[in-house]
């Protein structure tokens, strides 16, 4: 298995390079994530951040002490000229992650949101302003020249099955698909590509995906989710709560797969994976 992560939310905080999506993947897949809070590491403490705040330093982006250790190591390696993909592989290996974890690109690609308040970089919009600004368009600065990171295209070309995780299609999956080489590899795939809808009953479990879909795609049903991946997917996994809207997908040439998508615990996540993989396999 190869996991390809988004780097459009990467930012510099207190002089350190932070890759929030890659780190969430790494913490979650190695059992280090704080499941309850939904981000960062379990058992986290905040001494460094408190000191930074006391000294008038940047404290709006919540970096915990344990988390900071990773950012220190990564930042040092990047400054020494190591590509992000190589550092990420090293960190993942050190944390005992047995599959490959790759950033979509080693190049500088950043997500920007066009809002009524003007253009905002991803973290200003999402964290500092609590994603309350409506989004009129999503842009990926640096996407034009961005190359897929080493190993990404080979993983897509050698895959038995490609899955787009139940994340925000605009700001989590979108920045990955904004890399031209990755989009092209998906468009010419010879195996099934299955996306999992992030919506349950037309609502996002967490975050602004439903509001963005309503404003940018004109609705919050499975069809609107699928329209974000036109030409790139063969099937869409949707929640049982949206079963009644499944059959509109076939007009788009996309097979609907209805299952329970809420990952309330590891067992539910496993059932979702098995259902998605099983149904995609059975209908190959």
């Amino acid at each position: 298995m190869t996991v390809i992560g988004n780097v459009g939310d990467d930012l510099e905080v207190l002089g350190l390079h932070v890759s929030p999506d890659l780190d969430s993947l790494l913490y979650t897949l190695t059992g280090r994530a704080d499941e309850e809070r939904g981000w960062g590491r379990a058992g986290e403490t905040w001494n460094a951040l408190e000191t930074a705040a006391e000294l008038g330093g940047e404290a709006w982006f919540r970096l915990g002490d344990r988390d900071l250790g990773l950012h220190l190591v990564r930042t040092q390696a990047l400054r020494a000229g190591e590509p992000l993909s190589a550092v990420t592989a090293r960190l993942a290996h050190a944390f005992g992650f047995r599959a490959a974890l790759l950033p979509a690109t080693d190049d500088r690609l950043r997500t920007w949101l066009e809002t009524p308040a003007g253009p905002l970089d991803f973290q200003t919009w999402f964290v500092a302003r609590g994603h309350r600004d409506d989004v009129d368009a999503v842009r990926f600065r640096g996407a034009e020249g961005a190359q897929a990171a080493p190993g990404v295209l080979a993983a897509l070309e050698g895959a038995d099955l490609i899955v787009l995780a139940p994340s925000n299609p605009y700001v989590s999956i979108g920045p990955i698909l904004a890399v031209a080489g990755i989009r092209a590899a998906l468009a010419r795939r010879s195996v099934q590509c299955v996306a999992v809808s992030p919506l349950i009953g037309g609502r996002a479990v967490r975050g602004p995906a439903d509001r963005m879909l309503a404003r940018l795609a004109g609705g919050t049903g499975p069809t609107e989710v699928a329209s974000c991946y036109a030409g790139l997917i063969d099937a869409l996994v949707l929640d049982e709560a949206d079963a009644g809207e499944a059959d509109g997908l076939e007009e788009l040439g996309i097979r609907p797969i209805v299952t329970e998508t809420l990952m309330r615990d590891a067992a539910a996540a496993r059932r979702l994976a098995e259902a998605a993989l099983g149904a995609a396999g059975a209908l190959r």
Binding site: V237, E240, A246, D247, V258, G278, A282, R284
Partner: protein
């Protein structure tokens, strides 16, 4: 009004070896009882069978009985479909002891206005079907049937939706499957399993 057709073969599940035949028959009947309890909670249910015990079980739970023409699963389902009103209908196999009323409701909701909802087994066969009308059915059971039911709906200008829910996926093809369904199985299957274990220990 939508209905459910449940075909039940009388010979006991051949694949439930290494159990002796009488135990296989009682386990198959227990699984049918659990499937019927989920079905009758939702919709009027028609059991297609030639088995006397299954017939009296169906009558006990308020399901109608249709005689099995003994031409295999496809012929049995076709006979059941002739008994139901035109319109939305589910076909649910009798070897799904963990199926819930909620899962059947989802199968019903997922059925397109013209076409079918398919609940495939892991091996590509079909555990349950939702049909927008009985005329959408064709006897296509056997290896790879989920894909063939899908192609059949497309030939009739219809759509297909795949439904993958735990109770609709967990068909019992072997004794191992049955043990795996364990605690999640309905009460009749659980009781049959525990009496089987008690017997084995005595």
């Amino acid at each position: 009004m939508a209905a459910i057709v449940v075909p039940f073969r009388s010979a006991g599940k051949r694949r439930l070896t290494p159990l002796p035949e009488d135990l296989r028959a009682s386990l198959a009947l227990a699984m049918l009882a659990d499937v019927l309890s989920a079905c009758t909670a939702e919709l009027s249910t028609f059991v297609v069978t030639g088995d006397e015990a299954a017939r009296s079980l169906a009558e006990q739970v308020g399901a109608a009985v249709v005689d099995d023409p003994s031409g295999g699963q496809g012929a049995a389902v076709a006979a059941g479909l002739r008994a139901v009103d035109d319109g939305l209908v589910l076909v649910v196999n009798a070897d799904l002891p963990t199926v819930t009323p909620g899962e059947l409701r989802t199968l019903l909701q997922a059925t397109p206005a013209h076409g079918n909802a398919l609940a495939p087994a892991a091996d590509g066969t079909t555990n349950a079907l939702g049909l927008s009308a009985p005329s959408l059915f064709a006897p296509l059971y056997g290896a790879g049937s989920a894909e063939r039911f899908r192609a059949h709906a497309a030939r009739l200008g219809g759509r297909s939706v795949t439904v993958a829910l735990p109770g609709l996926l967990a068909d019992v093809d072997s004794y191992e499957d049955l043990l795996r369904s364990g605690r999640r199985a309905g009460p009749r299957t659980r009781a049959a399993l525990s009496s089987l274990h008690a017997e084995a220990l005595s």
